[in-house]
Symmetry: C2
Subunit: 165 residues, 2 copies
Amino acid sequence: MKLGEGVEVAVHCAAVMVGLEKHSTLPAAALAEFHGVSASYLVKHLKALVADGILDSVPGPAGGYRLARPPERITLLDIVLAVEGRKPAFRCTDIRRRGPGAPDATAYVKPCGINAAMLRAEHAYRQALAATRLSDIVAEFQSEADPRSVARGCAFVASCQRKQP
Amino acid sequence: MKLGEGVEVAVHCAAVMVGLEKHSTLPAAALAEFHGVSASYLVKHLKALVADGILDSVPGPAGGYRLARPPERITLLDIVLAVEGRKPAFRCTDIRRRGPGAPDATAYVKPCGINAAMLRAEHAYRQALAATRLSDIVAEFQSEADPRSVARGCAFVASCQRKQP
């Protein structure tokens, strides 16, 4: 099983934006430099977060990105689904109906039990992701992380945020 | 998030093998035909199940595959890890340490909170997979699936199994 790499940088970017002052934004180029990734790679993922209503994109030369709603209302599940899509990890191809001698469609009205079991496990995964809010991530970071790391994040936001008119 | 397609056919093959008589095996070619997949594709996944001790491979012209232990002791997690590998779906690249101005390694002794939260969710996923045994899958299939589908599976095993000397 594999999650795309975009999830990591997307969660980190959203966490950084929690520190923005009201109406301020962060430009993609600054976010990319801070996280050591290319801007074009990052913009793809930021756009996915905008499309799912997690971020707002403010256009124009002083524009940038900011959270579209309070961090208490953004979960890890919201971010993972925005970046990775909403399809389940287990993709049932209805293999039970292939091969010679399979009965006709009337024998397969009920869902395949293997698919159902895999989806139950995926539901547990999604529930756990939904139980962690962006605000939890940031509160834990501020109280648990090394003070130098916290200070670096604060300094980055303070120096790179753009106040919108 | 995506699971490889091999998981589906691996679980279906293991479920079919529950119906084997003692000491009997099923050849890969027959399993491939029954599931409508190529034999070379299937053998790759059967070998992964053998490597993890879920299946036994019996060599020779009358050889084939069978479960290496009772289906009560094989879980969906065992099969998923055998086919997909044991690495977590979320691969932390320690992005917090990249970019200019990051403090030295002494600031990153504790694990990243984002990685920890992602791994907690993955633990819930794995626990749910571990709670479903191959015997549960087969018992549910026998009691819930369309009788034509159950009869097809039984007939396949009866006609294709090879008794080992």
